[in-house]
């Protein structure tokens, strides 16, 4: 194994592979920054260019590009509250709140450092887990995957606000997200649901316009309402400081970063769940790490742990989702499905051959993830001061620029005016949700998980009827979900008894 690992490294370090990886990193850097241009879409656009490449060069190019989109996607999330990627939306809650407190540098430092740790954990998991992951994947059938989705929702719904009323609001927001995910043609019977005779709605609500609207529009409105820059009246010198503090935060909360990286890797391994789920689960876990309700109130108001969790999970999920793609030819996400197309174009067959005959190619992918993330983080740190200073620019100048990004970003999702209408509608909804004190995180997770959960629920019911509820792993996941829901109430009751 160590020989193959070394051989993989040497293959990636060949000048042609390095050159293609650098090109991929540059492309991925900009794709991550621009809202609407997703990493998966760009992977698909770049597939035709790999025909004449060797496998190592092609994967260095594609993976180099894909591995950095999540990292740079965090930058716009922190600075402007606009998610550069669907998978970097969770970073907004605390990252942008930190930017508004004049801690943009620290938030970016934390996001980048945790992204790097996450990528390294994901790559290590890919290197180590291939031989042992098969039984784990096979243990999780549709009922278990459905319960895993419900557990994720229970986590975020119960942790995103406090007390009995907070639970009601959290679950209501989650359920609303789940219900809106059913808009579009039903996958089982082909019935158009809640489409109101609109052809645009037949394909369902696209995630990017919804996310851009629900997160960016309220931030823009608030920026206009305050009439200042993002960082308020703080002196410019203070804003750009603290990047190194963010790095230190990563090591101060090292085990949290590692745990969130492992959550990301695990979600990445599970087929169909994807990066958007991983970040919210990690955010929920980070919020759970608060020692008491008082400390938890800091989440959403600029707690650095709310940046570290999603940042780490976002990048570690890449290594995780490569595991089933390489080992069984089962892609863990849309991007991995496209990458699988790359395997076919290059004449490689995922499966046992990738673990024996082409083991060095497999390990070259591990090294690509590691090197691409290292290069991106180092490059980002060089420009961090200048990036952070953007939060000191007057709101009047920033607002039209951010609005342009929002409109173009949402339009380019499907090249349809309907995308902008969706962005504006969900922007208004997001604003009123914030005003009413309803958490947006469970809503987004519900929307992301809805289609997956419905498919798994239907397969579970059709295949096992009610007996799916008695499967051992399902029972364990139900118990954990109930415990997660009841724990805040129990904690509040105990606190009341002590007072």
């Amino acid at each position: 194994m160590s020989e193959a690992l070394l051989e993989g490294l040497l293959l990636v370090l060949q000048w042609k592979a390095l050159a293609f990886m650098s090109l991929g990193i540059v492309l991925g850097f900009w794709v991550g920054l621009l809202p609407g241009l997703g990493g998966a879409t760009t992977l698909a656009l770049m597939l035709p260019f790999i025909y004449n490449m060797q496998p190592v060069e092609a994967f260095a190019f594609l993976l180099g590009m894909h591995a950095v989109t999540a990292t740079t996607g965090d930058i716009t999330s922190v600075l402007f509250g606009v998610p550069g990627e669907a998978a970097s939306a969770a970073t907004i809650l605390d990252g942008h709140a930190m930017a508004k407190k004049g801690e943009a540098g620290r938030a970016l430092g934390a996001a980048l450092a945790s992204s790097l740790v996450g990528a390294l954990v994901g790559a290590a998991a890919l290197a180590l887990a291939v031989p042992v992951v098969r039984p784990l994947v096979l243990t999780f059938g549709s009922p278990e995957l459905f319960m895993l989705a419900i557990m994720g929702l229970a986590f975020i719904a119960s942790l995103s606000s406090h007390g009995g009323r907070g639970l009601v609001r959290g679950f209501m927001a989650g359920a609303l997200g789940l219900l809106l995910s059913t808009v579009g043609q039903d996958p089982q019977a082909g019935v158009p649901r809640y489409t109101f005779d609109s052809l645009y709605l037949w394909q369902g609500l696209d995630l990017v316009p919804v996310l851009v609207g629900i997160f960016a529009i309220p931030e823009i409105l608030e920026l206009a309402a305050r009439g200042t820059s993002i960082a308020g009246s703080l002196p410019a010198g203070k804003i750009s400081r603290g990047a190194f503090e963010g790095v230190k935060d990563t090591f101060r909360h090292f085990w949290l970063t590692i745990r969130c990286s492992l959550i990301g890797t695990f979600i990445g391994i599970m087929p169909g769940l994807g990066g958007s789920v991983a970040q919210w689960m990690a955010y929920g876990h980070a919020a759970q790490s608060a020692r008491d309700a008082e400390e938890r109130k800091g989440f959403g108001a600029g707690d650095v742990r709310g940046v570290l969790g999603p940042g780490a999970a976002n990048n570690s999920k890449e290594g995780g989702s490569l595991i089933p793609t390489i080992a069984f030819g089962v892609p863990g996400s849309t991007a991995m499905a496209i990458l699988l197309g790359g395997f076919v174009l290059l004449g490689l067959v995922p499966g046992p051959d990738m673990l024996s005959k082409y083991l060095s190619v497999t390990y070259s992918m591990v090294w690509t993830i590691v090197i691409a993330n290292l290069v991106t983080v180092v490059v980002c740190f060089l420009f961090l001061d200048r990036l952070a200073r953007l939060t000191g620019v007057r709101g009047g100048i920033l607002i039209p620029m951010i609005l342009l990004l929002v409109f173009v970003g949402s339009f380019t999702s499907n090249n349809h005016y309907g995308d902008i209408v969706v962005t504006l509608a969900f922007g208004a909804m997001g604003y009123f949700m914030v005003l009413a004190g309803w958490p947006r995180a469970p809503f987004v997770l519900g929307l992301v998980l809805g289609k997956i959960a419905e498919n798994y629920l239907w397969i579970s019911v059709a295949r096992y009827e009610a007996a799916w509820l008695t499967r051992p792993v399902v029972v364990v996941l139900i118990v954990i979900s109930v415990a997660v829901i009841l724990y805040p109430l129990f904690q509040a009751r105990r606190r009341g008894a002590h007072a």
């Binding site: 809650l93 942790l159 606000s161 406090h162 009323r165 907070g166 009601v168 209501m172 359920a175 609303l176 789940l178 219900l179 059913t182 039903d186 089982q188 019977a189 019935v191 649901r193 809640y194 309220p218 409105l221 608030e222 206009a224 309402a225 305050r226 109130k297 989440f299 108001a301 709310g306 007057r394 009047g396 100048i397 607002i399 039209p400 609005l403 342009l404 339009f411 380019t412 090249n415 005016y417 902008i420 209408v421 504006l424 922007g427 208004a428 604003y431 009123f432 949700m433 914030v434 005003l435 009413a436 004190g437 309803w438 958490p439 947006r440 995180a441 809805g450 959960a453 629920l457 239907w458």
Partner: protein
């Protein structure tokens, strides 16, 4: 304001989930299972929240969310910027991206942000050049023409 927002939002969600359940009853079982399983609890939760907001005391904001400015000046500014957003969208539909983008940038900077002529024109030209160069010249994204031009 938060109380009114809660009541309004709960009412909208209650009506929407009620409609969702009603519509789902007319579909085949396969298509209706999930919307019913979600819609019914959502209707109950929204009703609970509505009653809570209506009859309960104003609660301190405690969710993991940003704090919004809610004074009268902030409210006027929010309405104004929401108007700019709608105007930008209308301009895109009527004039197309290629005309609407520089027009919006210039008018916002000059009229709303009250920037000087050099700043308004300079920034508009720089941002439009970046927009055109990246999305049109480099990526060839198909921006449709407007209804009027």
């Amino acid at each position: 304001m938060p109380k009114r927002a809660t009541i309004g939002l709960s009412l909208v969600v209650m009506l929407a989930s009620g409609y969702a359940v009603f519509a789902a009853t007319g579909w085949p079982w396969k298509a209706a299972l999930f919307p019913l399983a979600i819609g019914i609890p959502l209707f109950c939760l929204a009703t609970t929240e509505l009653l809570w907001a209506w009859f309960g005391a104003e609660e301190k904001r405690d969710s993991m969310e940003l704090a919004l400015s809610t004074d009268a000046v902030a409210g006027r500014r929010v309405v104004l910027v929401a108007g700019w957003m709608l105007a930008f969208f209308a301009a895109i539909v009527l004039l197309g991206f290629m005309i609407a983008v520089p027009l919006f940038l210039f008018l916002y900077l000059k009229l709303q942000a009250r920037e000087g002529w050099p700043m308004s024109i300079g920034l508009t030209l720089i941002v439009f050049a970046a927009f055109y160069g990246l999305f049109d010249a480099l990526l060839h994204l198909p921006f449709p023409a407007g209804v009027l031009f």
